[in-house]
Protein backbone atom coordinates (compact mmCIF):
# COMPACT_ATOMS: atom_id res chain seq x y z
CA UNK A 1 0.00 0.00 0.00
CA UNK A 2 1.47 3.27 -1.05
CA UNK A 3 1.35 6.10 1.47
CA UNK A 4 0.85 9.43 -0.14
CA UNK A 5 2.46 12.26 1.76
CA UNK A 6 3.15 15.80 0.83
CA UNK A 7 4.98 18.67 2.43
CA UNK A 8 3.23 18.43 5.78
CA UNK A 9 4.02 14.70 6.06
CA UNK A 10 0.45 13.65 6.81
CA UNK A 11 -0.98 10.47 5.23
CA UNK A 12 -3.06 11.93 2.43
CA UNK A 13 -4.83 8.63 1.88
CA UNK A 14 -6.24 9.02 5.35
CA UNK A 15 -7.31 12.53 4.44
CA UNK A 16 -9.18 11.12 1.42
CA UNK A 17 -10.78 8.40 3.55
CA UNK A 18 -11.94 11.02 6.04
CA UNK A 19 -13.37 13.15 3.27
CA UNK A 20 -15.19 10.16 1.76
CA UNK A 21 -16.62 9.09 5.10
CA UNK A 22 -14.54 5.92 5.06
CA UNK A 23 -12.33 6.62 8.07
CA UNK A 24 -13.05 5.04 11.44
CA UNK A 25 -13.63 7.09 14.61
CA UNK A 26 -10.00 7.27 15.70
CA UNK A 27 -8.84 8.14 12.19
CA UNK A 28 -11.46 10.86 11.96
CA UNK A 29 -10.27 12.39 15.19
CA UNK A 30 -6.67 12.23 13.95
CA UNK A 31 -7.51 14.02 10.70
CA UNK A 32 -9.58 16.67 12.40
CA UNK A 33 -6.84 17.35 14.92
CA UNK A 34 -4.26 17.65 12.18
CA UNK A 35 -6.32 19.68 9.69
CA UNK A 36 -7.11 22.25 12.38
CA UNK A 37 -3.47 23.24 12.47
CA UNK A 38 -2.35 22.39 8.90
CA UNK A 39 -3.34 24.86 6.17
CA UNK A 40 -2.18 22.46 3.43
CA UNK A 41 -4.49 19.63 4.54
CA UNK A 42 -7.34 22.04 5.18
CA UNK A 43 -6.92 23.28 1.60
CA UNK A 44 -6.77 19.70 0.30
CA UNK A 45 -10.10 18.95 1.98
CA UNK A 46 -11.63 22.08 0.44
CA UNK A 47 -10.24 21.13 -2.99
CA UNK A 48 -11.74 17.64 -2.74
CA UNK A 49 -15.13 19.17 -2.03
CA UNK A 50 -14.78 21.48 -5.01
CA UNK A 51 -13.78 18.60 -7.29
CA UNK A 52 -16.70 16.49 -6.15
CA UNK A 53 -19.02 19.32 -7.11
CA UNK A 54 -17.48 19.59 -10.55
CA UNK A 55 -17.49 15.85 -11.21
CA UNK A 56 -21.06 15.37 -10.02
CA UNK A 57 -22.03 18.24 -12.31
CA UNK A 58 -21.45 15.82 -15.16
CA UNK A 59 -24.70 14.21 -14.11
CA UNK A 60 -25.95 10.69 -14.66
CA UNK A 61 -26.34 9.36 -18.18
CA UNK A 62 -28.85 6.84 -19.45
CA UNK A 63 -27.75 3.95 -21.62
CA UNK A 64 -28.91 4.05 -25.25
CA UNK A 65 -32.40 2.62 -25.54
CA UNK A 66 -31.30 -0.20 -27.81
CA UNK A 67 -28.37 -1.44 -25.71
CA UNK A 68 -30.25 -4.22 -23.90
CA UNK A 69 -31.95 -5.42 -27.08
CA UNK A 70 -28.62 -5.44 -28.91
CA UNK A 71 -27.13 -7.59 -26.16
CA UNK A 72 -30.20 -9.84 -26.21
CA UNK A 73 -29.88 -10.19 -29.95
CA UNK A 74 -26.23 -11.11 -29.66
CA UNK A 75 -26.62 -13.70 -26.95
CA UNK A 76 -29.52 -15.04 -28.97
CA UNK A 77 -32.61 -17.13 -28.34
CA UNK A 78 -30.61 -20.34 -28.57
CA UNK A 79 -29.35 -19.70 -25.08
CA UNK A 80 -32.78 -19.22 -23.59
CA UNK A 81 -33.74 -20.74 -20.26
CA UNK A 82 -33.39 -24.43 -19.73
CA UNK A 83 -37.16 -24.91 -19.94
CA UNK A 84 -37.33 -22.90 -23.15
CA UNK A 85 -34.45 -24.88 -24.51
CA UNK A 86 -36.21 -28.11 -23.74
CA UNK A 87 -39.35 -26.84 -25.31
CA UNK A 88 -37.64 -25.57 -28.37
CA UNK A 89 -35.62 -28.69 -28.71
CA UNK A 90 -32.84 -26.84 -30.40
CA UNK A 91 -30.28 -29.52 -29.91
CA UNK A 92 -28.60 -29.22 -33.23
CA UNK A 93 -25.81 -26.80 -33.86
CA UNK A 94 -26.75 -23.57 -35.58
CA UNK A 95 -25.20 -24.53 -38.84
CA UNK A 96 -26.74 -27.97 -38.97
CA UNK A 97 -30.18 -26.67 -38.02
CA UNK A 98 -30.04 -23.99 -40.65
CA UNK A 99 -28.91 -26.39 -43.33
CA UNK A 100 -31.60 -28.90 -42.48
CA UNK A 101 -34.29 -26.25 -42.23
CA UNK A 102 -33.42 -24.75 -45.57
CA UNK A 103 -33.19 -28.17 -47.05
CA UNK A 104 -36.61 -29.09 -45.74
CA UNK A 105 -38.18 -25.94 -47.08
CA UNK A 106 -36.69 -26.54 -50.46
CA UNK A 107 -37.76 -30.16 -50.57
CA UNK A 108 -41.32 -29.35 -49.48
CA UNK A 109 -41.45 -26.63 -52.09
CA UNK A 110 -40.54 -28.96 -54.85
CA UNK A 111 -43.35 -31.34 -53.98
CA UNK A 112 -45.95 -28.65 -53.28
CA UNK A 113 -47.96 -27.11 -56.09
CA UNK A 114 -46.60 -23.69 -56.95
CA UNK A 115 -48.64 -20.91 -55.44
CA UNK A 116 -48.63 -17.31 -56.57
CA UNK A 117 -45.95 -15.24 -54.90
CA UNK A 118 -47.39 -12.53 -52.71
CA UNK A 119 -46.23 -8.96 -52.85
CA UNK A 120 -43.93 -8.24 -49.95
CA UNK A 121 -44.10 -4.74 -48.49
CA UNK A 122 -41.37 -2.44 -49.69
CA UNK A 123 -39.93 -2.16 -46.23
CA UNK A 124 -39.28 -5.87 -46.20
CA UNK A 125 -37.82 -5.87 -49.64
CA UNK A 126 -35.31 -3.24 -48.62
CA UNK A 127 -33.98 -5.60 -46.04
CA UNK A 128 -32.52 -7.82 -48.67
CA UNK A 129 -29.13 -6.67 -49.86
CA UNK A 130 -28.49 -9.89 -51.74
CA UNK A 131 -31.77 -9.90 -53.63
CA UNK A 132 -30.16 -10.25 -57.03
CA UNK A 133 -28.50 -13.50 -56.01
CA UNK A 134 -31.54 -15.18 -54.50
CA UNK A 135 -32.55 -17.59 -57.28
CA UNK A 136 -29.08 -19.04 -57.61
CA UNK A 137 -28.76 -19.56 -53.84
CA UNK A 138 -32.14 -21.17 -53.70
CA UNK A 139 -31.11 -23.68 -56.32
CA UNK A 140 -27.85 -24.42 -54.53
CA UNK A 141 -29.66 -25.16 -51.29
CA UNK A 142 -32.24 -27.28 -53.05
CA UNK A 143 -29.47 -29.27 -54.68
CA UNK A 144 -27.71 -29.80 -51.35
CA UNK A 145 -30.87 -30.93 -49.62
CA UNK A 146 -32.15 -33.18 -52.41
CA UNK A 147 -30.20 -36.40 -51.66
CA UNK A 148 -31.74 -36.98 -48.21
CA UNK A 149 -35.24 -35.52 -48.18
CA UNK A 150 -36.98 -37.68 -45.58
CA UNK A 151 -34.50 -37.55 -42.65
CA UNK A 152 -34.00 -33.87 -43.27
CA UNK A 153 -37.71 -33.17 -42.95
CA UNK A 154 -37.94 -35.17 -39.77
CA UNK A 155 -34.92 -33.56 -38.14
CA UNK A 156 -36.11 -30.12 -39.04
CA UNK A 157 -39.41 -30.69 -37.30
CA UNK A 158 -37.58 -31.76 -34.16
CA UNK A 159 -35.30 -28.76 -34.18
CA UNK A 160 -37.94 -26.18 -35.02
CA UNK A 161 -37.62 -22.90 -33.16
CA UNK A 162 -40.42 -20.75 -31.81
CA UNK A 163 -43.70 -20.82 -33.72
CA UNK A 164 -44.04 -18.04 -36.23
CA UNK A 165 -47.39 -16.29 -36.53
CA UNK A 166 -47.77 -14.45 -39.79
CA UNK A 167 -50.12 -11.54 -39.26
CA UNK A 168 -51.35 -10.09 -42.53
CA UNK A 169 -53.23 -6.83 -42.38
CA UNK A 170 -54.12 -3.87 -44.57
CA UNK A 171 -52.45 -1.78 -41.88
CA UNK A 172 -49.90 -4.06 -40.17
CA UNK A 173 -48.93 -1.35 -37.70
CA UNK A 174 -52.40 -1.62 -36.09
CA UNK A 175 -51.91 -5.34 -35.64
CA UNK A 176 -48.54 -4.74 -34.12
CA UNK A 177 -49.99 -2.09 -31.82
CA UNK A 178 -52.56 -4.65 -30.65
CA UNK A 179 -49.78 -7.07 -29.71
CA UNK A 180 -47.91 -4.34 -27.89
CA UNK A 181 -51.07 -3.26 -26.05
CA UNK A 182 -51.57 -6.85 -24.94
CA UNK A 183 -48.02 -7.02 -23.64
CA UNK A 184 -48.50 -3.77 -21.73
CA UNK A 185 -51.69 -5.09 -20.14
CA UNK A 186 -49.78 -8.16 -19.09
CA UNK A 187 -47.05 -5.95 -17.64
CA UNK A 188 -44.48 -7.97 -19.44
CA UNK A 189 -41.96 -5.18 -18.97
CA UNK A 190 -39.44 -7.60 -17.57
CA UNK A 191 -39.46 -9.59 -20.78
CA UNK A 192 -39.40 -6.83 -23.37
CA UNK A 193 -40.19 -7.75 -26.93
CA UNK A 194 -37.06 -8.30 -28.85
CA UNK A 195 -36.77 -6.30 -32.00
CA UNK A 196 -35.10 -8.77 -34.24
CA UNK A 197 -34.40 -6.37 -37.06
CA UNK A 198 -32.94 -3.41 -35.21
CA UNK A 199 -33.53 -1.40 -38.34
CA UNK A 200 -34.45 2.14 -37.44
CA UNK A 201 -34.96 3.09 -41.05
CA UNK A 202 -38.02 0.89 -41.46
CA UNK A 203 -41.42 2.38 -40.84
CA UNK A 204 -42.65 -0.96 -39.73
CA UNK A 205 -40.58 -3.39 -37.78
CA UNK A 206 -41.88 -6.63 -39.22
CA UNK A 207 -40.75 -9.06 -36.53
CA UNK A 208 -41.54 -9.21 -32.87
CA UNK A 209 -40.42 -11.96 -30.57
CA UNK A 210 -42.30 -12.27 -27.31
CA UNK A 211 -42.63 -14.83 -24.58
CA UNK A 212 -46.15 -16.00 -23.88
CA UNK A 213 -47.92 -18.83 -22.20
CA UNK A 214 -49.89 -21.12 -24.45
CA UNK A 215 -53.17 -19.53 -23.37
CA UNK A 216 -51.87 -16.00 -23.71
CA UNK A 217 -50.82 -16.86 -27.18
CA UNK A 218 -54.33 -18.06 -27.98
CA UNK A 219 -55.98 -15.00 -26.44
CA UNK A 220 -53.70 -12.72 -28.40
CA UNK A 221 -54.40 -14.59 -31.60
CA UNK A 222 -58.12 -14.26 -30.96
CA UNK A 223 -57.77 -10.53 -30.38
CA UNK A 224 -55.82 -10.12 -33.58
CA UNK A 225 -58.44 -12.01 -35.53
CA UNK A 226 -61.07 -9.58 -34.31
CA UNK A 227 -59.30 -6.69 -35.98
CA UNK A 228 -60.58 -5.63 -39.36
CA UNK A 229 -58.92 -7.21 -42.38
CA UNK A 230 -56.43 -9.20 -40.36
CA UNK A 231 -55.57 -12.80 -40.92
CA UNK A 232 -53.29 -14.83 -38.72
CA UNK A 233 -51.57 -17.91 -40.01
CA UNK A 234 -49.15 -20.21 -38.30
CA UNK A 235 -46.08 -20.69 -40.37
CA UNK A 236 -44.06 -23.82 -40.43
CA UNK A 237 -41.00 -21.96 -41.56
CA UNK A 238 -38.05 -22.33 -39.23
CA UNK A 239 -37.53 -19.16 -37.24
CA UNK A 240 -33.80 -19.46 -37.68
CA UNK A 241 -34.23 -19.25 -41.40
CA UNK A 242 -36.14 -16.03 -40.98
CA UNK A 243 -33.35 -14.33 -39.16
CA UNK A 244 -30.43 -15.70 -41.03
CA UNK A 245 -28.70 -12.66 -42.40
CA UNK A 246 -27.19 -14.57 -45.27
CA UNK A 247 -30.52 -15.73 -46.61
CA UNK A 248 -33.02 -12.96 -45.96
CA UNK A 249 -34.57 -12.95 -49.39
CA UNK A 250 -35.05 -16.69 -49.35
CA UNK A 251 -36.83 -16.62 -46.03
CA UNK A 252 -39.12 -13.76 -46.97
CA UNK A 253 -40.04 -15.37 -50.23
CA UNK A 254 -40.90 -18.57 -48.44
CA UNK A 255 -42.86 -16.69 -45.84
CA UNK A 256 -44.81 -14.86 -48.51
CA UNK A 257 -45.83 -18.13 -50.08
CA UNK A 258 -46.87 -19.73 -46.83
CA UNK A 259 -48.48 -16.62 -45.38
CA UNK A 260 -50.58 -16.35 -48.48
CA UNK A 261 -51.60 -19.95 -48.73
CA UNK A 262 -51.90 -21.08 -45.12
CA UNK A 263 -55.55 -21.25 -44.11
CA UNK A 264 -56.79 -19.83 -40.84
CA UNK A 265 -56.30 -22.57 -38.30
CA UNK A 266 -59.72 -23.98 -37.25
CA UNK A 267 -58.47 -24.76 -33.75
CA UNK A 268 -57.79 -21.08 -33.19
CA UNK A 269 -61.43 -20.26 -33.86
CA UNK A 270 -62.45 -22.93 -31.39
CA UNK A 271 -60.17 -21.42 -28.76
CA UNK A 272 -61.70 -18.02 -29.23
CA UNK A 273 -65.19 -19.41 -28.72
CA UNK A 274 -64.27 -21.47 -25.70
CA UNK A 275 -62.76 -18.43 -24.03
CA UNK A 276 -66.17 -16.76 -24.28
CA UNK A 277 -64.73 -13.30 -24.90
CA UNK A 278 -61.04 -12.79 -24.65
CA UNK A 279 -61.12 -9.76 -22.39
CA UNK A 280 -63.26 -11.32 -19.69
CA UNK A 281 -61.13 -14.42 -19.67
CA UNK A 282 -58.11 -12.22 -19.56
CA UNK A 283 -58.58 -10.83 -16.07
CA UNK A 284 -59.94 -14.03 -14.53
CA UNK A 285 -57.12 -16.16 -15.79
CA UNK A 286 -54.34 -13.72 -15.21
CA UNK A 287 -52.89 -15.17 -12.05
CA UNK A 288 -53.03 -18.69 -13.39
CA UNK A 289 -51.51 -17.63 -16.70
CA UNK A 290 -48.69 -15.84 -15.01
CA UNK A 291 -47.63 -19.08 -13.40
CA UNK A 292 -47.77 -21.06 -16.62
CA UNK A 293 -44.54 -21.60 -18.52
CA UNK A 294 -43.85 -19.02 -21.20
CA UNK A 295 -42.26 -19.71 -24.50
CA UNK A 296 -41.09 -17.56 -27.36
CA UNK A 297 -43.49 -16.76 -30.18
CA UNK A 298 -42.44 -14.77 -33.19
CA UNK A 299 -44.93 -12.46 -34.83
CA UNK A 300 -44.28 -11.40 -38.39
CA UNK A 301 -46.36 -8.48 -39.56
CA UNK A 302 -46.91 -8.11 -43.23
CA UNK A 303 -49.09 -6.17 -45.53
CA UNK A 304 -52.09 -8.16 -46.70
CA UNK A 305 -51.63 -9.19 -50.33
CA UNK A 306 -53.52 -6.98 -52.73
CA UNK A 307 -56.69 -8.55 -54.05
Amino acid sequence: VEVFEMACGFDKGLLAAHYDGEADASERAEVERHAASCPECARDLADMKELTGRLRGLGPVKAPASLASEVAKEIGPRRASASSRRWMGWSLSAAAALFLAVGTVMVLDRSAPESPVAVAPDSLRQKDPAKAEEPRREEEFAAKAAPKPAPAAEKSKESAGPPVLVVSAIDPSKARAEVEAFLRERARAFAPPKDRTGKDDLDLTPYLEVELTEEESQILEARLRKLESVTVAKSTIDAELLFDRNQPGLAMKELDRRGRTAPTAPEAKKTEDSLGGAKAADSEQRSRLDKAPRRPVIFVFRQAPKK
Binding site: V1, E2, V3, F4, K12, G13, L14, L15, A16, A17, D20, E22, R43, D44, A46, D47, M48, E50, L51, T52, R54, L55, R56, G57, L58, G59, P60, V61, K62, A63, P64, L67, A68, E70, V71, A72, E74, I75, G76, P77, R79, A80, S81, A82, S84, R85, F190, A191, P192, E211
Partner: protein, 194 residues
Protein backbone atom coordinates in the same frame (compact mmCIF):
# COMPACT_ATOMS: atom_id res chain seq x y z
CA UNK B 1 -19.39 -7.25 -1.32
CA UNK B 2 -22.91 -6.07 -1.82
CA UNK B 3 -24.53 -2.79 -2.52
CA UNK B 4 -28.05 -1.72 -1.67
CA UNK B 5 -30.53 -3.20 -4.06
CA UNK B 6 -28.19 -5.86 -5.36
CA UNK B 7 -29.64 -8.65 -3.24
CA UNK B 8 -31.75 -10.62 -3.34
CA UNK B 9 -33.18 -9.89 -6.80
CA UNK B 10 -29.82 -9.82 -8.57
CA UNK B 11 -28.80 -13.02 -6.85
CA UNK B 12 -31.88 -14.84 -8.09
CA UNK B 13 -31.36 -13.58 -11.63
CA UNK B 14 -27.66 -14.42 -11.50
CA UNK B 15 -28.47 -17.98 -10.46
CA UNK B 16 -30.86 -18.35 -13.36
CA UNK B 17 -28.42 -16.75 -15.79
CA UNK B 18 -25.68 -19.09 -14.64
CA UNK B 19 -27.97 -21.93 -15.59
CA UNK B 20 -28.16 -20.53 -19.11
CA UNK B 21 -31.33 -18.45 -18.77
CA UNK B 22 -30.88 -15.66 -21.31
CA UNK B 23 -34.03 -13.90 -20.21
CA UNK B 24 -32.75 -13.61 -16.64
CA UNK B 25 -29.49 -12.25 -17.97
CA UNK B 26 -31.38 -9.75 -20.08
CA UNK B 27 -33.07 -8.47 -16.94
CA UNK B 28 -29.67 -8.02 -15.34
CA UNK B 29 -28.58 -6.05 -18.39
CA UNK B 30 -31.65 -3.81 -18.17
CA UNK B 31 -31.02 -3.27 -14.48
CA UNK B 32 -27.32 -2.44 -14.78
CA UNK B 33 -26.99 -0.90 -18.23
CA UNK B 34 -27.27 2.73 -17.11
CA UNK B 35 -24.54 2.53 -14.51
CA UNK B 36 -22.20 0.52 -16.73
CA UNK B 37 -22.75 2.75 -19.74
CA UNK B 38 -22.41 5.87 -17.63
CA UNK B 39 -19.11 4.70 -16.09
CA UNK B 40 -17.77 3.74 -19.51
CA UNK B 41 -18.84 7.01 -21.09
CA UNK B 42 -16.91 8.93 -18.43
CA UNK B 43 -14.00 6.54 -18.79
CA UNK B 44 -13.61 6.68 -22.57
CA UNK B 45 -15.30 9.99 -23.31
CA UNK B 46 -17.08 8.85 -26.46
CA UNK B 47 -20.75 7.80 -26.57
CA UNK B 48 -20.37 5.35 -29.43
CA UNK B 49 -17.31 3.72 -27.93
CA UNK B 50 -19.11 3.53 -24.59
CA UNK B 51 -22.04 1.84 -26.26
CA UNK B 52 -19.84 -0.66 -28.11
CA UNK B 53 -17.81 -1.43 -25.02
CA UNK B 54 -20.94 -1.81 -22.88
CA UNK B 55 -22.39 -4.24 -25.38
CA UNK B 56 -19.18 -6.26 -25.56
CA UNK B 57 -18.87 -6.24 -21.79
CA UNK B 58 -22.37 -7.63 -21.28
CA UNK B 59 -21.91 -10.26 -23.97
CA UNK B 60 -18.58 -11.18 -22.43
CA UNK B 61 -20.20 -11.40 -19.00
CA UNK B 62 -22.85 -13.74 -20.42
CA UNK B 63 -20.15 -15.99 -21.81
CA UNK B 64 -18.31 -16.00 -18.49
CA UNK B 65 -21.44 -16.38 -16.41
CA UNK B 66 -20.51 -19.89 -15.32
CA UNK B 67 -17.25 -18.51 -13.88
CA UNK B 68 -19.04 -15.95 -11.75
CA UNK B 69 -19.02 -17.45 -8.28
CA UNK B 70 -21.44 -14.98 -6.80
CA UNK B 71 -19.15 -14.06 -3.90
CA UNK B 72 -19.29 -10.43 -5.06
CA UNK B 73 -22.24 -8.40 -6.23
CA UNK B 74 -23.05 -8.71 -9.91
CA UNK B 75 -22.43 -4.96 -10.30
CA UNK B 76 -18.91 -5.33 -8.89
CA UNK B 77 -18.12 -8.10 -11.32
CA UNK B 78 -19.71 -6.18 -14.17
CA UNK B 79 -17.72 -3.00 -13.53
CA UNK B 80 -14.53 -5.06 -13.59
CA UNK B 81 -15.44 -6.67 -16.89
CA UNK B 82 -16.50 -3.32 -18.33
CA UNK B 83 -13.25 -1.54 -17.46
CA UNK B 84 -11.17 -4.47 -18.70
CA UNK B 85 -13.16 -4.40 -21.90
CA UNK B 86 -12.52 -0.67 -22.25
CA UNK B 87 -8.78 -1.19 -21.85
CA UNK B 88 -8.78 -3.99 -24.46
CA UNK B 89 -10.91 -1.89 -26.77
CA UNK B 90 -8.39 0.92 -26.67
CA UNK B 91 -5.50 -1.51 -27.00
CA UNK B 92 -7.06 -3.06 -30.08
CA UNK B 93 -7.30 0.38 -31.59
CA UNK B 94 -11.04 0.80 -30.98
CA UNK B 95 -12.35 3.68 -32.91
CA UNK B 96 -9.63 5.80 -31.30
CA UNK B 97 -11.79 8.79 -30.82
CA UNK B 98 -10.44 9.77 -27.46
CA UNK B 99 -12.16 12.94 -26.47
CA UNK B 100 -10.23 15.81 -27.91
CA UNK B 101 -9.45 18.97 -26.11
CA UNK B 102 -11.84 20.75 -28.43
CA UNK B 103 -14.16 17.78 -28.86
CA UNK B 104 -17.84 18.47 -28.70
CA UNK B 105 -19.03 14.90 -28.73
CA UNK B 106 -22.77 14.80 -28.40
CA UNK B 107 -24.04 12.86 -25.47
CA UNK B 108 -20.87 13.04 -23.44
CA UNK B 109 -22.16 15.99 -21.53
CA UNK B 110 -25.55 15.30 -20.10
CA UNK B 111 -27.91 18.17 -19.58
CA UNK B 112 -29.19 18.36 -16.05
CA UNK B 113 -32.42 20.28 -15.52
CA UNK B 114 -31.32 23.84 -15.21
CA UNK B 115 -33.39 27.00 -14.89
CA UNK B 116 -30.51 29.42 -14.87
CA UNK B 117 -30.06 32.17 -17.45
CA UNK B 118 -28.80 30.96 -20.88
CA UNK B 119 -25.40 32.56 -20.34
CA UNK B 120 -24.93 30.74 -17.07
CA UNK B 121 -26.12 27.51 -18.64
CA UNK B 122 -23.52 27.77 -21.39
CA UNK B 123 -20.90 28.40 -18.77
CA UNK B 124 -22.07 25.29 -16.92
CA UNK B 125 -21.93 23.23 -20.09
CA UNK B 126 -18.45 24.47 -20.89
CA UNK B 127 -17.34 23.67 -17.38
CA UNK B 128 -18.71 20.12 -17.63
CA UNK B 129 -16.94 19.65 -20.94
CA UNK B 130 -13.66 20.71 -19.39
CA UNK B 131 -14.15 18.24 -16.56
CA UNK B 132 -14.75 15.43 -19.05
CA UNK B 133 -11.66 16.48 -20.98
CA UNK B 134 -9.59 16.62 -17.83
CA UNK B 135 -10.78 13.11 -16.92
CA UNK B 136 -9.66 11.85 -20.32
CA UNK B 137 -6.17 13.15 -19.64
CA UNK B 138 -5.74 11.14 -16.47
CA UNK B 139 -3.98 7.83 -16.09
CA UNK B 140 -6.63 5.08 -16.60
CA UNK B 141 -6.23 3.80 -13.04
CA UNK B 142 -6.83 7.27 -11.64
CA UNK B 143 -9.80 7.73 -13.93
CA UNK B 144 -11.37 4.45 -12.80
CA UNK B 145 -11.06 5.19 -9.11
CA UNK B 146 -12.50 8.69 -9.50
CA UNK B 147 -15.42 7.52 -11.60
CA UNK B 148 -16.26 4.75 -9.17
CA UNK B 149 -16.09 7.00 -6.14
CA UNK B 150 -17.33 10.36 -7.34
CA UNK B 151 -19.78 9.40 -10.07
CA UNK B 152 -20.85 5.87 -9.20
CA UNK B 153 -20.79 6.44 -5.45
CA UNK B 154 -19.12 3.09 -4.72
CA UNK B 155 -17.69 2.37 -1.29
CA UNK B 156 -13.97 1.80 -0.75
CA UNK B 157 -14.67 -1.90 -0.24
CA UNK B 158 -16.47 -2.15 -3.55
CA UNK B 159 -13.81 -0.14 -5.37
CA UNK B 160 -11.12 -2.39 -3.91
CA UNK B 161 -13.05 -5.43 -5.14
CA UNK B 162 -13.64 -3.97 -8.60
CA UNK B 163 -10.04 -2.86 -9.08
CA UNK B 164 -8.65 -5.88 -7.24
CA UNK B 165 -6.37 -3.78 -5.06
CA UNK B 166 -6.13 -3.42 -1.26
CA UNK B 167 -8.40 -0.88 0.38
CA UNK B 168 -5.38 1.17 1.44
CA UNK B 169 -4.45 1.58 -2.21
CA UNK B 170 -7.92 2.90 -2.94
CA UNK B 171 -7.41 5.61 -0.32
CA UNK B 172 -4.07 6.80 -1.61
CA UNK B 173 -5.02 6.41 -5.25
CA UNK B 174 -8.10 8.52 -4.73
CA UNK B 175 -6.05 11.30 -3.23
CA UNK B 176 -3.52 11.08 -6.07
CA UNK B 177 -6.26 11.01 -8.72
CA UNK B 178 -7.94 14.06 -7.26
CA UNK B 179 -4.65 15.91 -7.20
CA UNK B 180 -4.03 14.94 -10.82
CA UNK B 181 -7.50 16.04 -11.89
CA UNK B 182 -7.04 19.34 -10.09
CA UNK B 183 -3.82 19.91 -12.02
CA UNK B 184 -5.44 19.06 -15.37
CA UNK B 185 -8.33 21.38 -14.67
CA UNK B 186 -5.91 24.11 -13.74
CA UNK B 187 -4.41 23.78 -17.21
CA UNK B 188 -7.74 23.54 -19.04
CA UNK B 189 -9.66 26.18 -17.16
CA UNK B 190 -6.73 28.33 -16.20
CA UNK B 191 -7.74 28.50 -12.56
CA UNK B 192 -7.23 26.05 -9.76
CA UNK B 193 -10.14 23.82 -8.94
CA UNK B 194 -10.01 25.03 -5.41
Amino acid sequence: VTSPGDFPPDRALVDRARGGDAEAFNQLVIRHQDRIYSALLRFCGDPEDARDISQRAFVNAWRKMAEFKGDAAFSTWMYRIAFNQAISFRREGGRSRTVSIHGREEGVISEPVDDRRPGDRLEGEESRRKVQEALALLDPEDRKVLILRELEDRSYDEIAAILEVPKGTVRSRLFRARQALKEKLKILIGTPAG
